[in-house]
Amino acid sequence: MTWLTWRQFRAQAITAVVALAAFAILLGVTGPHLASMYASSGVPGCRATCTDRATSFLGVVTGVYTLVYTLGIAAVVLAPALIGIFWGAPLITREIETGTFRLAWTQTITRGRWLASKLALPGLAAMVVTEGFSLMYSWWAAPITEAARLAPGANFPVGMGPFSLLAFDAHGIVPLGYAAFAFTLGVTTGTFVRRPLPTMAITLAVFAVVQVAMPLGIRPHLFSPVHSTVSVAQRFSGQESVSGDTFTLTPDYIFGQPGAWVLASHAVNAAGQPATVMPAACVGPDSGNSLACLASHGIEVAVTYQPVSRYWAFQWTETAIFLALALALAGLCFWRLSRRLS
C-alpha cells in the first residue's frame, strides 16, 4: 500500500521538490550578499549606536532583497493553503470522481489501512516541505530579523517583529502545524463534499478563515497578557493623534521590551484612569513638546502586551493546537469512510 500511495503521490512530490529547489536557488543567490552586507554594517556584535546602524542597514536592503523578502513570506504562508487544495482536496475526491475507489476498496486491504497509508505519506511530506520552506526562509532573512530587533521603529515593509501577523506564521514551527491542518482539512472535506472543485474551494475558504481568526481572535489569549504602563517622557516611540482637544497615543513598541506584541493601549492619567482630553496647558501652538507637556501632567500609556520571551511558548502551543485539529479531522475522516459511502 505504501508503494501505491507513493506512486499516486509521485507527481505532487516532484512538484514540491522542484519548488523547494527553485526557492533554495533564489535564496542561495541573494542570501550570501545580504549576509555580507549585514556583516559589514557594523550591526553584528555592536556595543553602541546599534539602533542607528541597524536602521541604516535596513535602509540599504532594497530592490531585489525587499522583493525576495516579501515573496518568501508569501511563499511560506501560502504553502499550507496550496497543499490543502492540491494534495488534500483531490486525495479522495479524485478516487470518487473516477470511480477508482471501487477498485481500491475491493482489494484485500481494509478501508482503514488504505486511508492510514494515504494520509501518512503525503501528510508527512506536507509538514516536511512546508517547514523546509520556512527554515530556508528564516536562514535567509536572519540579518533582517536581527536588525529589526535592534531598530524596532525602522520603516520596513511587511512583517516586522516576531509577533507581527505574517512573520509569526512564516517562521518557527507553526508552518508544519498549518500544513498538517490544511492537508487533513482538504481530505476530510472531500469525504463530505465528494467532488474535487467544490472541495478545493471550501478547503481554501475554511483555511483562510481559520488563518485570519487565529491571530486576531485566539492567539492573543493563549497566555494572559502583561499589563504595564509606559512613560511618554523619553524614548516613547509611537503615534500621537490630536483632534480638537482629544488625543490618543499609540505606541509602536515598548522601550525595554523589544519585539513585544502590543495588544492594546490607551493613555491614562496619574490616577490610572483613561485620559482622552488634553490638559489645557498642552493645547495650543506654543505648548512646546507635546509629549513632554503630557508627561508633566502625569499622563502615561497603559499597555497590554505579550513579551517576546514568550515567543516560543506561543509557537509550540499554536503548533500543538493545529496538530490536534489535524488529528481530529483525520479521525473524522476514518469515521466517515467506515460508514461506506457508495
Binding site: 500500500m1 508503494w3 501505491l4 506512486r7 499516486q8 507527481a11 473516477t98 470511480g99 477508482t100 471501487r102 477498485l103 476498496w105 475491493t106 482489494q107 484485500t108 486491504i109 481494509t110 478501508r111 460508514r339 461506506r340 457508495s342
Partner: protein
C-alpha cells in the same frame, strides 16, 4: 454446495427511494449467475452491497459465509465495477503491482501470462487502453487474486461485439480452469444467454424470479389459444404476462408440472421471452399502483 451469496430481506434506501427491497436470495456455488433487469432495477446496488461498498438499510447479506468487507471476505471475492475503472496514470504493470501489494494470495504468474496472452503492453498507461482492454485488465486484477467468487457489474455493456466475445471467452476459460462461481449483471439477456446457467431477474428493486436456467425453462411455458379471460385458467398456473388480440390470447405461465388443458397450444419459451415477461409484469404492477394513486386524488 453451500451458497456463495446469502441474503435475507436485504434492502437499500437512498433518502426516500428504495433501490433494492425485500431481497432474499441463496445463490449456490459453482454456477455462472446472470443478474438481469432494466437499468435502475437495483443490480448495481445488490453488487455494491455484496462487496461492501454499501451498507444495507434493512436485512442481512453474507458472502462466502461472512459479512462483506471483512478483510478475509475481500480476499476471496474478485470484483469488476461498471465501466472497469482503472488508474489512468498508472501503467498496466503498475496495476499488476497494485494487485500484488494489496492482495496476499496474488498469483503473479497467472497475471503475467494473462497480460501476455491478451497482448497488453505492460508499460502502456491504463488511460490509453481501449474499453475492451480496460475490461480485460480489470478482469485480470480480479482473477489473479485467486478468488472463489467473481462479481462483475455490467462487464460487457460498453464493449463492441468483438471485445464482448473475447471477454466472455476469457471469462469462461477462467471459470473452467479455476472452478469459479461468477455473478454477472446485464440489462441485456442476449449477453448472458450462453454463459449463464443460473438466473436472477431483478425489476423495480425486487427479485422477480430465480433458478437454474434448466429449471426456469422447464417450468415456464407459452400458452396460445382463443381469446379469454386469464382468470379462467386451471389452478397451479401462475400467469406472468398476458397479451390479447381480438381472437387470440397468449400467456406466459409458470407451472409446477405439465399443462394438460387441450384448449391451449403449449410451447417452449426462450430466456429472453421469460425475462421480458417478468419485466412487463413489474411494469404492469407499478402501473396499477400509480392508477390507484390517481383515483384517490
Amino acid at each position: 454446495m453451500s451458497a456463495v451469496i446469502e441474503t435475507q430481506g436485504l434492502g437499500k434506501r437512498y433518502q426516500r427511494k428504495w433501490a433494492l427491497s425485500d431481497c432474499t436470495l441463496s445463490i449456490p456455488a459453482g454456477h455462472v449467475v446472470g443478474l438481469v433487469g432494466p437499468n435502475g432495477a437495483g443490480k448495481s446496488t445488490l453488487m455494491n452491497l455484496a462487496v461492501g461498498l454499501l451498507a444495507p438499510t434493512a436485512g442481512t447479506i453474507e458472502v462466502l459465509g461472512r459479512p462483506p468487507a471483512a478483510g478475509a471476505a475481500l480476499a476471496r471475492v474478485g470484483y469488476l465495477a461498471q465501466d472497469a475503472p482503472v488508474y489512468r496514470a498508472l501503467s498496466v504493470a503498475d496495476h499488476l503491482k497494485l494487485g500484488a501489494r494489496l492482495n496476499p494470495d496474488w498469483d503473479a504468474g497467472l497475471a503475467r501470462s494473462r497480460v501476455e496472452r491478451l497482448g497488453l503492453d505492460p508499460h502502456q498507461k491504463a488511460g490509453t487502453l481501449s474499453g475492451g482492454q480496460r475490461a480485460q485488465l480489470a478482469l485480470t486484477l480480479a482473477a489473479a487474486k485467486r478468488p472463489q467468487l467473481l462479481i462483475l457489474d455490467e462487464p460487457v455493456a460498453s464493449l463492441d461485439p468483438l471485445a464482448r466475445r473475447e471477454f466472455l471467452q476469457d471469462l469462461m476459460e477462467s471459470t473452467a480452469e479455476h472452478e469459479l462461481s461468477v455473478v454477472l449483471s446485464s440489462h441485456l439477456i442476449g449477453d448472458l444467454e450462453r454463459v449463464c446457467d443460473y438466473l436472477i431477474v431483478l425489476v423495480g428493486s425486487k427479485v422477480r424470479v430465480t433458478g437454474t436456467v434448466e429449471e426456469l425453462l422447464a417450468t415456464h411455458h407459452l400458452l396460445t389459444g382463443q381469446r379469454r379471460d386469464p382468470d379462467s385458467l386451471p389452478a397451479g398456473l401462475a400467469v406472468v404476462s398476458a397479451s390479447h388480440t381480438d381472437k387470440q390470447t397468449t400467456l406466459l405461465v409458470r407451472t409446477g408440472g405439465q399443462v394438460f388443458d387441450p384448449t391451449w397450444i403449449v410451447s417452449e419459451v426462450t430466456l429472453e421471452d421469460l425475462v421480458l415477461a417478468y419485466m412487463s409484469q413489474a411494469v404492469g404492477q407499478a402501473g396499477r399502483r400509480n392508477h390507484h394513486l390517481e383515483v384517490h386524488q
